[in-house]
Symmetry: C2
DNA sequence: ATAAATGATACCAATATGGTGTCTTTTGTC
DNA sequence: GACAAAAGACACCATATTGGTATCATTTAT
């Protein structure tokens, strides 16, 4: 059971790397030298981030990518939603009718509260956190 | 992005239903009348719960299932681990080397803390919570 | 013109998910 | 003992998701 898929992970680390480069653009070739990822897969991820307006892209020689928004504005939560779809932990719970002997219960309530709290926390972690210990 | 798969959900609701029956055994036929689930799938889930020693099973006419442990001892966390494998939210994060410009970072730390807190919470929710509002 | 870069998009293998079906074994009842 | 009602074991299957590859088109600096 995992919360983050590989593309989310790659995206976070890639954004961290681009953020570290400040205003300079970074190419896919640069990135795969630094990060250990398959090129084609990384290109797909970068395109996604670019389409979602988190990256500015520049074509042609000397081109590459740079951040379109500040690192502290890119949250883990948004990465999850982009690469793993809408965040709905409890999608399945009590879809159907529960056991008819059970009229109300505190389970769903509690689960919903956990979800809310988790979302708040995932929104509080940003790409900025990747840069904190930078030399 | 979902946290609970269908079998986890079914398992939780089924256990709630069995718990509500107190010491009496409940058959698959009983359960599918009350809960809206495909019979074969439910049987597979019940077998799993039985193998994991959460249910006692009785074969033959008049047989069925009953809880092997107290409802307050069966957590959502254990259901997730049984049906969805080991709980490791951060499996992928920083598997490979992160961008070399980033030596240490607070991201993984923060994520790990979130994971810990989430586990504690999921362990605090039990089948008992399903019975709370019971008539 | 050419090479360096991204954009769009189609494809693919492996795995997970959600579910079904069949045959075996156990056990209570007539 | 025969039979039916239950669970046990397990093989199978369709679909979706995940993780990844490959190809061609477009843009742009030199």
């Amino acid at each position: 059971m995992k919360l983050l898929t590989r593309d989310t992970d790659y995206a976070v680390r890639t954004l961290g790397c681009i953020a570290a480069a400040k205003e300079n653009t970074v190419t896919v070739t640069d990135l795969i030298k630094k990060l250990n990822m398959p090129k084609s897969f990384l290109r797909k991820i970068l395109q996604m981030l670019s389409n979602k307006k988190l990256l500015k892209s520049f074509k042609g020689t000397g081109g590459g990518f740079s951040l379109a928004v500040k690192p502290e504005e890119i949250t883990i939560f948004s990465m999850i939603e982009i690469f793993q779809g809408p965040f709905q932990l409890m999608e399945h719970v009590f879809r159907g009718k529960a056991c008819p002997e059970i009229k109300t219960c505190s389970l769903k309530e509690k689960m919903d509260r956990i979800e809310e709290e988790l979302i708040i926390k995932l929104k509080s972690i940003t790409i900025m956190d990747l840069l904190k210990g930078q030399k």
